[in-house]
């Protein structure tokens, strides 16, 4: 794309305009295209999927009217919210109030810059990619705190305070879990981390050692907490805080928060896939570069969406923890455990290669056995369900 742009500059298409300005405008346009063509449908379809998955787990039908199987429900909701009155309470700090959703949204959107959808499908392969993700997702807490404070509503304030405490605390185990992988890969670039892994499951960092296996679950739990997902959704706990920091929001601003939340789900899955599940690595059977690109994209997308589905599943199953239990879980259990994972991984790096292979094999075997046992039980439950609960994906 840059070559094409250079060609146009040389042809004099933008005569009199500095080169930098052309680049900047092109980047903004590219970002706009990515935003409208990929991120918006992604978050939207995730919201539809969540509602459908939830509905199936709760013996309901879920949205199935707009479009085939209701897949366009998110568009209808978006239009409805756009047409709604954009209400700003009289006592609210109107500037902060209007600005907060965009800060939250930006925090989530910026992560898409470094998410590697394929070997060549990445906006910018920053050499500090994963650190960059940690940094920009911290913006979300600023936005939430702004929303909570500016609403001038006690529920919003409580929600904002809870959220700040929660996100700041859970960044520590998440960061430490990520650090184990950084040590192993020796790079912070997202592409570099993926390239250090292979396409076969036992070459993934997930099964590298028991410590990385633990780090994965620590990362996933902490990421759920950072994304305000059940069982850690206390900032917007609707049965306690009415709606938490979004209590006073309506219309499109309200939607922006949930846009960010659903999009963030995908980011959680994508980061987990990159760090632990081998990213876009596919078997070396594709010669055609286009086919290869598609295969990589599909692989990455499915791996990431698996964890989106797991997050939905967890949300449909678990109750919510209390504030103090949430903090205790983080500081008493997850932080020490993630330090253990980090130190254990460092220690295992001194083990010679044969030893590492044995450890890898044991870990993989253990994980495989656990997974098989789990799915056996799930299949058993599904098979022995009452007739009215039979799995019927299309209703």
């Amino acid at each position: 794309m840059q070559a094409y742009l250079d060609q146009m500059i040389r042809d004099g298409a933008f005569a009199g305009v500095p080169k930098e300005v052309v680049y900047a405008v092109a980047m903004v346009l590219a970002a706009f295209v990515v935003l409208s063509a990929f991120v918006a449908p992604l978050a939207g379809v995730t919201s539809w999927l969540e509602r459908r998955v939830w509905a199936r787990m709760q013996s309901r039908v879920g949205p199935n009217r707009v479009g085939p199987q209701g897949i366009l429900q998110w568009l209808a909701d978006g239009i409805k919210n756009l047409l709604k009155e954009d209400l700003i309470p009289a006592d609210a700090d109107s500037k902060l109030f209007s600005f907060a959703p965009y800060v939250v949204f930006m925090g989530f959107l910026c992560t898409f810059v470094v998410i590697p959808f394929g070997a060549d499908l990445i906006v910018a392969d920053l050499n500090i990619g994963i650190l960059y993700i940690l940094a920009v997702t911290s913006l979300v807490v600023v936005g939430i705190l702004m929303a909570g404070w500016a609403s001038n509503n006690k529920w919003s304030l409580l929600g904002g305070m809870r959220s700040a405490a929660q996100i700041v605390s859970y960044e520590i185990p998440a960061g430490l879990a990520i650090l184990t992988i950084i040590f192993l890969a020796g790079t912070m670039s997202m592409q570099g981390i993926i390239k250090a892994q292979g396409w076969v499951p036992w070459d993934w960092y997930l099964f590298h050692s028991p410590f990385t296996l633990g780090a994965f679950f620590l990362y996933f739990t902490a990421a759920l907490a950072e994304g305000n997902r059940t069982p850690f959704d206390i900032p917007e706990a609707e049965s306690e805080l009415v709606a938490g920091y979004v209590t006073e929001y309506s219309g499109m601003r309200f939607l922006f928060f949930f846009f960010a939340e659903w999009g963030n789900l995908y980011v959680i899955g994508a980061v987990a896939t990159t760090l632990f599940l081998g990213g876009w690595q596919v078997p070396p059977i594709f010669e055609n570069p286009v086919l290869l690109g598609i295969a990589q994209f599909v692989t990455f997308f499915l791996k990431a969406y698996l964890w989106v589905f797991v997050a939905m599943w967890v949300r449909a199953t678990l109750p919510r923890v209390r504030v103090d239990q949430l903090m205790a879980l983080c500081w008493k259990y997850m932080v020490p455990l993630s330090f253990t994972c980090l130190l254990g991984t460092i220690g295992l790096m001194f083990v010679p290669a044969q030893g590492q292979t044995i450890i890898k094999a044991i870990t993989f075997g253990f994980a495989l056995a656990t997974a098989i046992n789990f799915f056996r039980r799930v299949v058993f439950q599904v098979r022995n369900a009452r007739p009215e609960l039979y799995f019927k994906p299309q209703i």
Partner: protein, 379 residues
């Protein structure tokens, strides 16, 4: 903000006053609590009742005895059958009317079905208060079956107007009895499924164990009744201790709190008592379906029902505890005075005492575990 706080140097120390309700997702109707908190910790929670007052007691003085029965439905719409029964029992005792034996069994069957429905709502919404969305929907799914059964029994799904003075409005048909039996076969495993999903959940237990403990003494002095009293370990059930209807002939346990996860009388005990009571109700229903005799469902009661002057207080064990109708007759067609005593109203009084020092999320758990129901509080 217009409020001015006394400045004490850089910051001020003042409790934040929050109004929980009347429009709040987990106040189960229109309830209001004026809560003073220090951050998340509650220092005071004062219930403010009266948002749903419909003067049902006063209406009782203006309509005939027969005409008042549909109004009693509205006292507690989740357990309408019990209010029907309590009022009819009071009227029957005043006039000396007998209830047919089949009528008594019909009453017990309808009441126990209603108890299961009410407890399903209670435990389902309790799960939702704690943050688990799925158990609520599963509980409502089962309740829907009960509503269908109720529709078959009496034509209504929520406000039944089924129990009449002298018996019941319509006999329960044999095919309906068969359907109730089918429902019980289906429902008893569902309770186990529900326990696997919610009652045994680690987070759920952590949230409730040892939270908002009501001691036995407090339960007595604040006049808690029903599952809330039994949750504190007191074995007291009107069905067993002041027997009415055909309950003395039926065998059932009175489940009490056992402190299996935390302290005796905590939120989990109250929740668990309700789960166990649903199972006991199933037992009662099975016995009733077997023992039900043939005969008329309602005895001969004059259209112009004029009980002699006198007064009577009838009590039944409703899902929210001891429900009493105090009816005074002056010999006319209309009751001279009707007073309704409900369990939720007294349960509200203990909230202020128990909620001191607990967190905001625990207050929601406390309200949910007491199973207070706004229409029943205000009547």
């Amino acid at each position: 903000m217009s409020e001015t706080a006394p400045a004490r140097g850089f910051y001020t120390e003042e409790d934040m006053t929050i109004s929980v309700g009347p429009q709040h997702p987990s106040t189960h109707g229109v309830l209001r609590f004026v809560v003073k908190t220090d951050g998340e910790v509650i220092s005071e929670a004062i219930p403010d009742v009266g948002y749903l007052h419909r003067s049902i007691e006063k209406i009782g003085e203006k309509v005939t005895y027969h005409g008042y029965v549909p109004y009693t439905d509205r006292a507690d719409y989740l357990a309408a059958m019990f209010a029907n029964q309590a009022f009819c029992m009071a009227a029957e005792k005043l006039a000396g009317t007998d209830v047919t034996r089949r009528g008594e069994f019909c009453r017990v069957i309808a009441c126990e079905l209603n108890r299961i429905a009410s407890h399903l709502i209670s435990v389902g919404t309790f799960g939702q208060d704690i943050g688990a969305m799925t158990p609520f929907v599963h509980a409502l799914r089962e309740r829907e079956t009960i509503n269908n059964l109720m529709e078959e029994i009496c034509g209504a799904r929520l406000t039944y107007n089924y129990i009449r003075i002298g018996g019941v409005g319509y006999d329960i048909l044999p095919e309906t009895c068969a359907k109730i039996g089918e429902f019980l076969n289906h429902f008893e495993p569902i309770v186990d499924e529900f326990n696997r999903l919610l009652s045994g959940n680690k987070i759920f237990i952590e949230r409730l164990a040892g939270v908002a403990v009501v001691s036995k003494e407090d339960a007595f002095s604040y006049n808690l009744v029903g599952p809330n009293l039994r949750g504190s370990g007191v074995k007291w059930d009107i069905r067993r201790d002041i027997p009415y209807s055909v309950y003395p002939e039926l065998e059932f346990d009175v489940p009490v709190g056992m402190a299996q996860v935390g302290a005796l009388g905590d939120s989990y005990d109250r929740y668990w008592v309700r789960i166990r009571e649903m199972q006991e109700s199933c037992k009662i229903l099975r016995q009733c379906l077997q023992m039900m005799p043939k005969g008329p469902a309602i005895s001969k009661v004059p259209k112009k029902f004029r009980p002699p002057a006198g007064e009577y207080y009838a009590r039944v064990e409703a899902p929210r505890g001891d429900m009493g109708f105090y009816v005074v007759s002056d010999g006319s067609e209309y009751p001279y005075r009707v007073r309704i005593r409900t369990g939720s109203y007294t349960a509200m009084s203990i909230i202020d005492k128990i909620s001191k020092g607990i967190m905001l999320a625990d207050l929601i758990a406390l309200i949910g575990s007491l199973d207070v129901d706004a229409p029943e509080i205000d009547r």
